[in-house]
């Protein structure tokens, strides 16, 4: 509106006359229609919204319907109310999976944050080969998770584990460690692999953040007598906080809904002790064909994801408001 008004004022003031503009007769054509801002917006947004509607919004609604029905493969279901959710809650494997999901997310996120920050600070120093090291550091994040997890599974192999060999040779252990054959150990291993894969994402994001901090601030702080740790704690960390919130929220969503790592590394075993919500939903919904029950299990992820996304949106809005 402001622009149009300005145009009119301009032509009244005679500016228009000074800038001869070719006057083209515009026919009532597609191009003319596309000059209408609202029409153009509809056209431009249509492909994206169509795909997202068909493959995100629609399945989401359908997922809610499935979770309230007793649908299974080859059997059109009937409405059964909240029965699937109640049954899941009574299931001891489900409860283990539910608990595991939180444990997995908490420990993995904590270590990824701490190690990622440390690595970012190390990478932020300028020395030779920095570019190559930065590229190499991201490799675990680039390579398909399934494939790199296979390498880890081989390294944790009960009979041929290289890690056992190494620890034995160094003299730390006398007998082999039960990497994937004991439930608690297996969960620990899965967390380690997740940290290995996700930490570069933190490191590179933080590195980008660190590079926006004015070095003069650090210099001023050192002149005032702050040591390395104090400079990090009172200067770098507060400045990186907004970025940290965004990175952590992203990572929590990815970790909480993880599937492939557990599917390959342990398959939920031994004795269903390392399932996450996503892998258990797969086992029930796809492998066993109980679609309704499986949909209900994966919907148990929704409240947590909703809260995290809500925090994210609040936070992004607040940053924009400032």
């Amino acid at each position: 509106m402001d622009h149009e008004f300005a145009d009119q004022v301009g032509s009244v003031a005679g500016v228009e006359a000074a800038l001869p503009r070719p006057h083209v007769e515009r026919p009532w054509s597609l191009m003319y229609l596309l000059d209408n801002e609202r029409f153009l917006a509809v056209v431009l947004l249509a492909p994206a919204l169509l795909l997202l509607g068909a493959f995100i919004a629609y399945p989401f609604v359908m997922g809610i319907w499935l979770s309230l029905s007793d649908t299974s493969v080859g059997n059109l279901g009937h409405f059964v109310g909240l029965q699937n959710f109640v049954r899941a809650w009574d299931d001891s494997i489900f409860r283990t999976a539910f608990k595991n999901t939180f444990i997995y997310t908490f420990w993995a996120t904590l270590f990824k944050l701490a190690l990622g920050m440390w690595l970012a600070v190390l990478l932020n120093r300028h020395f030779r080969a920095n570019r190559i090291i930065r590229a190499v550091v991201l490799l675990p994040f680039i390579v398909p998770t399934v494939l790199s997890t296979f390498a880890w599974k081989w390294m944790f192999d009960p009979t041929f584990s290289v890690l056992n060999w190494l620890l034995f040779r160094v003299g730390i252990i006398a007998d082999k460690l039960p990497f994937l054959s004991n439930g608690t150990w297996a969960m620990g291993c899965a967390i380690v692999v997740n940290i290995w894969r996700g930490m570069p994402f933190y490191a590179i994001s933080f590195l980008a953040g660190l590079q926006t901090i004015n070095p003069d601030l650090h210099e001023a702080a050192s002149l005032d007598g702050a040591n390395g740790w104090q400079r990090f704690w009172y200067l770098t960390w507060p400045l990186l906080k907004p970025l940290t919130v965004v990175v952590v929220v992203f990572s929590i969503i990815q970790t909480f809904s993880d599937f492939q790592l557990i599917y390959v590394l342990t398959g939920g075993g031994p004795a269903n002790s390392t399932h996450l919500l996503a892998t258990y939903a797969y086992q029930v919904g796809v492998a066993a064909g109980l679609l309704g029950q499986g949909a209900a299990i994966s919907l148990f992820m929704f409240p947590v994801l909703f809260i995290v996304v809500w925090i994210q949106l609040r936070y992004v809005r607040r940053l924009e408001g400032v």
């Binding site: 503009r21 596309l34 801002e37 609202r38 917006a41 492909p47 994206a48 795909l51 997202l52 068909a54 493959f55 995100i56 629609y58 399945p59 989401f60 359908m62 997922g63 319907w65 440390w118 190390l122 570019r131 590229a135 190499v136 550091v137 991201l138 675990p140 390579v143 398909p144 399934v146 790199s148 296979f150 390498a151 081989w154 390294m155 009979t159 041929f160 584990s161 290289v162 056992n164 034995f168 290995w196 994402f201 590179i204 965004v246 909480f256 599937f259 492939q260 599917y263 919500l277 996503a278 797969y282 679609l291 499986g294 994966s298 992820m301 994801l305 996304v309 949106l313 992004v316 924009e320």
Partner: protein, 282 residues
């Protein structure tokens, strides 16, 4: 001076070296396993003659087996095709939507932007069961199109978000000049703004491509025939026969499935990092 040198090693070089070794070791292990003959591969962990970190008899037998006796080349091609097709679709949708959200004034522009951002945060694991039903209803089951059409659901929001940010940094005057010279709004977008946005498009494309190459769950659920599978799914479901793991072949598969993506990435590290950091900025 010696004191300072010592501190630099303790606080910088040694931790950094440990980080790099830890991050790289699994890849080294893939490589060494892939070229090691079976007779060396399966030695008990405590065997005296076990030298696991190198091999005296490197062999390409595992790679040859993988290429000749399995459908690995086909899986590689499938993965590549699906990644390219879904990246093109996502870039197309993301470009148009990103431009609309960054530049046009229309009601609900803020709400729509937020809605697209929220879909970015919806993980595939939440939707795969109902989505499998929908794919079957659309007659897309066990075809590459099931993935070509569903992968954009997590790539479009990302591309839109990244490109929207990029368009906002392009000065409006550029477009206004073109309009004064008689270009239509659509023409100005196509011929002036999009060419300027090429670095942003490249970043979004590279990042989207790696996301697609990495995807596993949808490919696992929607594809059934061995010859239609992607690398990740093929390696998981076809290279393990019964309960037996052929580790040499598995690691050769893991290595060869990782090399193309690492190769592409190595040419575009900077674009990739821009995409990565842009993907999380609000």
């Amino acid at each position: 001076m010696v004191e300072q040198q010592w501190r630099k090693w303790a606080y910088c070089y040694i931790p950094l070296a440990l980080f790099v070794i830890g991050l790289i070791f699994p890849f080294y292990w893939m490589l060494i396993t892939a070229i090691r003959p079976d007779s060396e591969l399966y030695r008990a962990w405590r065997a005296v003659n076990n030298a696991p970190f190198w091999t005296f008899h490197p062999t390409v037998a595992h790679v040859e087996d993988l290429m000749a006796k399995t459908m690995f080349p086909q899986w590689l091609w499938n993965t590549f095709f699906i990644a390219i097709a879904s990246t093109i679709i996502s870039l197309f949708c993301g470009l148009l939507a990103g431009y609309a959200l960054a530049r046009l004034h229309f009601p609900m522009v803020g709400t729509l932007g937020t809605a697209i951002f929220v879909t970015y945060l919806v993980p595939p694991t939440l939707l795969f069961i109902p989505l499998a039903n929908i794919i079957r209803d659309f007659q897309l089951g066990d075809t590459p199109w099931a993935l070509v059409l569903t992968y954009p659901t997590f790539m479009i929001p990302f591309c839109t978000w990244l490109l929207m940010g990029y368009f906002k940094t392009i000065p409006r005057e550029l477009e206004e000049c073109a309009r004064i010279d008689g270009a239509t709004r659509f023409g100005a977008m196509l011929r002036i703004i999009f060419p300027v946005a090429v670095p942003g498009i490249l970043s979004a494309g590279i990042f989207a491509f790696t996301l697609s190459w990495n995807e596993f769950l949808y490919a696992l659920v929607f594809l059934a025939s061995p010859e239609r599978k992607t690398v990740s799914v093929g390696v998981v479901s076809e290279l393990i026969r019964g309960d037996i793991y052929f580790w040499g072949q598995l690691m050769a598969g893991a290595l060869l499935g990782s090399v193309p993506i690492a190769f592409i990435y190595s040419f575009f590290v900077d674009y990739y990092v821009t995409g990565l950091t842009g993907s999380i900025k609000g």
